[in-house]
Symmetry: D2
Subunit: 390 residues, 4 copies
């Protein structure tokens, strides 16, 4: 790489309008591209320090609001307006329709049923027997390892160390709770300290790699489905038969029958989500609220479960086993993102479960709307009307 | 829902500064939240029509640039600067490091090896025998169905109709090529027309639902891994032993050994991606370039394959079987997003494969950097230095 | 290995009573174990040549008969008595109950909807582009390759060559129909000939390995679920509401509700079969009829689909996407096994689809019985009464 | 069903030569099939009571012996001769070859690293919050539930109750150790007692179904891969470079390279086992030793892990996460089956882990032989020579 190809940087003052301009000029010189709108941002670059390197401006993603969504959750109670950042026409309208249906039926319950964030070092031994005995040693020394974690970091609490032996290797998952942070970085640090302590204290001084790939960070996995990553959260409501007919133009019997047809399709295809779509709402909320966008891949996994009740109403639930969201840290403090959190009173400490409940309920709303549109054969026509394929 | 809860809309002029302001005022009244920075956008609201409903402003996502990334692809040739929109500190720096390594080694090859976008209607019969005979009828009438598709839409070309019988149902996948569009909506429309023609012309007038869930739209699936969704693209390069030592502080032998440890972890956990992380780079590029952000969930799937060569160099490849990207339509024409595409000369028709090649090479760069950081035990310290967990 | 440790063999006359006795004496000398009943076989050892090496006697597996099972299949029509070889008490009784229910409801339909047996060589290239071009060459030369297959073997017909590129490798699946044989060996031979021809005729003389592991021979896989291995077969019947109540002591509504609870469990656990149990009946029939017992692992995969009809009856189907069975070759000609096939008029050519239909219907019967027993809380008590846990 | 169609039974003396003959005559009358060899069994029918209903004779499965296999396991030590019941020519010879290689290299280590047998009742609540609180109640009452288990059955020890909430349902897995029994029936009984106690004692008197399908009994699942079912066992040895060349005609470098090509194939196809074949050896040993044959489907799952050592030798391991085997109960006490167990000194109490070690080592031997044959292009020719496709 010749020097002239290098992106300009300033060690002392890199997150500044000046350096962003220099870089935009550099890009223009190198590629011919004008970055007028990228450069036309209204946030203070200094605030992005810690969130990005080589800052050159911002992408402006259209933000729409949907709602109100009535919630009767454990933490989220009342009517919420939901910020959705997306470029996909129809999305906000479709979610809004689902929210209206849920609200008309009394609102969505939502419950976080488990918390668990992981780092997954793998330890290598001469043989499986050593690996097994190491596992016993880990069990016996769990409290000491917890002490190491507590001494090295403030937030994460080590709940357990899951053990999975393959060959001469002990794959582990260090599971933590992380309060209102998503926690991938802080648990990484905590686990590194724990591993170094283990290496120093176990008689075999075992070699390890900080990730054996089974925390499945930034990946969907069946492991997440089973063991939870981030938050396992359920949203549920009872769809009234009359509301279904009036607002969705479908019978609850058809919805129930479709559940099983869709489930069979899910098993046939080995899909990560059993309903119509979870990723749309999660991605749009994640961008709006400053979540780590890559975590959509874990968070979109889930199962739909519905049941036709004796009175013809339809119990409808969505379970997200690996929802990763935070109300502080990461991108949550950036100006526009923070405002989106504040719109739902979800910024700051003590709010992460509330946010998780809302996200799950939004996913539920999206599935109510799209599943019904598919059944009522209205899905294409709404896209014709509102989306880009006119 | 009482009238006062309703989000203000204007049928004629809804994508306007006026209506955005009214909605911001409404949100403030309802929730108390000030939307000053959300409202401080610099793009023209009118241009978001077709991309969003209930527009209220924009989310400003920090944009960094990485590179140069040298490419010797089929379509992408030369040095590229890569726009990455993210809020995760260290990400741009880490990808940049990987790009530098690739560039020092002569650049990344990249190849789109298959195109296929699907809609997946399910047809219901009285029994499996009828379903099987229907499948034969579909085969025999494929050209007529192609004609229906051509008559109803401009872009999509129907390549084949995959058939999967379960019970008395024929789950199909209508597979299309869609030029430079992602194509989910246009193939939805085409498939609806095809299904209506089938229903009208097949003697049994079969009932159908437009989705049996096996196109796995907005979901990761093993189906995607096997059958492709969007583009199947491979990026590859040969990592020189000396470059690995110098820039990454790892031996190629260790990288090769780690490949298998990580693969075993992937199989153990049932993970969607075999390498360290694909979703980070894809999400950041998708936001920057106006892709449908929810498609990160399909696009992040993939396999790493590496091989230690006799001279100690390391062949390294990443295969993304379900990369969904476009260079027109959707959000690609929005001002900041379009500029990001232009930075790579990837805006407009005839550029989608080029963009796919670049995205795959970026994923490769990210894995080069993070895998090495994990092995060299540098992963935590870089986050300490650059990220938010100071 | 010292000479005295070697199992006695006779190059000329190894499948004989004499050599079996010598080996039994050898085992007694080496281990102290008396093999009286193993040695007390009544079949002619000579007939086992080609089926086993180091023949030492037989295992006598108890054989029970279940039925009659009324079938209204495409090939299997009428009442069948089913041979089940098992050591699990209750199994024959439970399947018999299911068969009675099906028969009372008019019998099981069954249909083979696809045939496909594979070998899956992987070809290695310098890069993905070469692999892609090789794929086109394969398409263009498909008829020549078919000719090679025809010239080298009698039975297998090459239907298609599926292509899956990863990195610089082309993973293929050579798909065949194999008439009444299971066909793994004959397709192995055919594919070897084809590969040698390809290697000789393609300009790059590509290296290959005869298996890249994606035929998933003797393994369950999602690939099998999607692409079929052996036979894809559906069995189905309509359970009458009254029969359910009387013979199974369950309501069809409960059965329908249980379907979805079980499906959710299947998705949660990533299980290969969506119903209660397919492996029991398949294993018992496979042993009885001389199938390759290891193929139970592929054959047990499947999906249940049921639907509550308006009149309260319950449509019930089972789909086995990878049923591997044969009516000649392998162990089907051994004396006891052949008699078991003859009991169903399934020995010899032209009978394989008929056998597949019967096996699928037996699986259906097993699920009818066990699912209902679980729901009626009778499952434990039947095992108490008939099984070993008294 | 008319009376004349009914299979003859005798309530008092059904497991007898007389009744078997009556049934054989009945089958001949109904189907025309002569059951001469089926009827020509040499075991006492009375002993099959509890193992089968409607006994009509036996299937005689050819039994071959392989070995010696040298083992340096935790429980299995010394040279073993392995009984393999199969009808697939080449199988015994191929496994023997692998055993010789392992023995020449000093023998196989093998270790059972975890025990866990499950029943998986699902409990239904009004909403997820109730389900979560029920989970806490289960944790608090674990010791009482253990007491109920102990009071109702002799063998099973309840180790833990895993909890997985989906919607308003709590899917549980009651995990047990079961000494030398496989334990599916005894844990079924124990779990039924536990559930009845829970229903009686929990304030909500929750409804439950004894199986929510996530014990995945008689099914392969990712759940088994992760959480273990039966025994998780590892077999391992170091293949010497020279032995590989001489006996297997392959280089250890090629074996190592093939590992990764096969792993990629496994991930691509979503296969249950990462090596060449586990089901062959397991099925043949299961039939020989009276295991429940259907459990092959769970037991065949696994991962291969290998590593090229600095001296050119190759560490090779196989991990079976869901091996289900027993040394008493079920079919283990039948005459021929018991002799096969005795041949390995594996009959009766205190032997189940030893048997598991041997089975895992046999799987390892099979993979050593077949993987090498595939690489050396000898796989087809051995089948030509020894198998049925002459």
């Amino acid at each position: 790489m010749s020097k002239s190809d290098r992106i300009p940087r300033d060690k002392k003052n890199d997150h500044s309008r000046e350096m962003a301009s220099q870089r935009a000029a550099f890009i223009k010189a190198q590629t011919g591209a004008e970055l007028n709108t990228v450069s036309s941002y209204t946030i203070d670059p200094a605030i992005t320090s810690g969130n990005i390197e080589n800052f050159i401006g911002t992408v402006q993603m259209p933000l729409g609001i949907a709602g109100p969504l009535k919630m009767v959750g454990e933490h989220a109670k009342g009517d919420f307006y939901i910020p959705l950042a997306t470029t996909e026409g129809t999305l906000v309208a479709s979610y809004s329709r689902g929210m209206r249906v849920i609200s008309e039926c009394g609102g969505a319950k939502a419950t976080v049923v488990k918390h668990s964030m992981q780092r997954a070092p793998v330890f290598r031994f001469d043989n499986a027997l050593e690996a097994r005995e190491f596992g016993r040693w880990l069990d016996e020394n769990l409290n000491s390892i917890r002490g190491v974690v507590d001494a090295s970091t403030d937030v994460p609490q080590l709940t357990e160390i899951e053990q999975y032996i393959v060959g001469n290797m002990m794959y582990t998952r260090f599971c933590y709770t992380t309060q209102d942070a998503a926690g991938q970085n802080m648990t990484g640090k905590a686990t590194l300290h724990a591993c170094e302590w283990i290496r120093a204290n176990h008689p075999l001084k075992p070699r390890y790699i900080l990730s054996g790939n089974i925390e499945t960070d930034k990946k969907h996995s069946q492991m997440n489905m089973i063991q939870t990553r981030g938050k396992r959260v359920v949203a549920e409501f009872v769809l009234k038969r009359d509301v279904a007919r009036e607002l969705l133009r479908v019978d609850t019997e058809s919805l129930y029958r479709f559940r099983q047809i869709a489930d069979v399709g899910t098993m046939l295809s080995g899909a990560a989500y059993g309903g119509a779509h979870s990723a749309n709402g999660i991605a749009a909320m994640f961008i709006a609220t400053g979540q780590d966008e890559a975590n959509v891949v874990e968070s979109h996994a889930g199962m739909l479960y519905g049941e036709l009740l004796d009175n013809g109403d339809f119990y409808w639930s969505v379970t997200l086993p690996a929802l990763i969201c935070a109300t502080y840290g990461g991108g949550t403090g950036l100006p526009t993102q923070r405002e989106c959190l504040e719109m739902m009173d979800c910024y700051g400490t003590g709010k992460a479960d509330k946010l998780a409940e809302i996200i799950a309920a939004v996913v539920l709303a999206g599935d109510v709307s799209l599943s019904s549109a598919i059944l009522a054969h209205e899905w294409v026509s709404s896209h014709e009307k509102m989306g880009r394929n006119r």
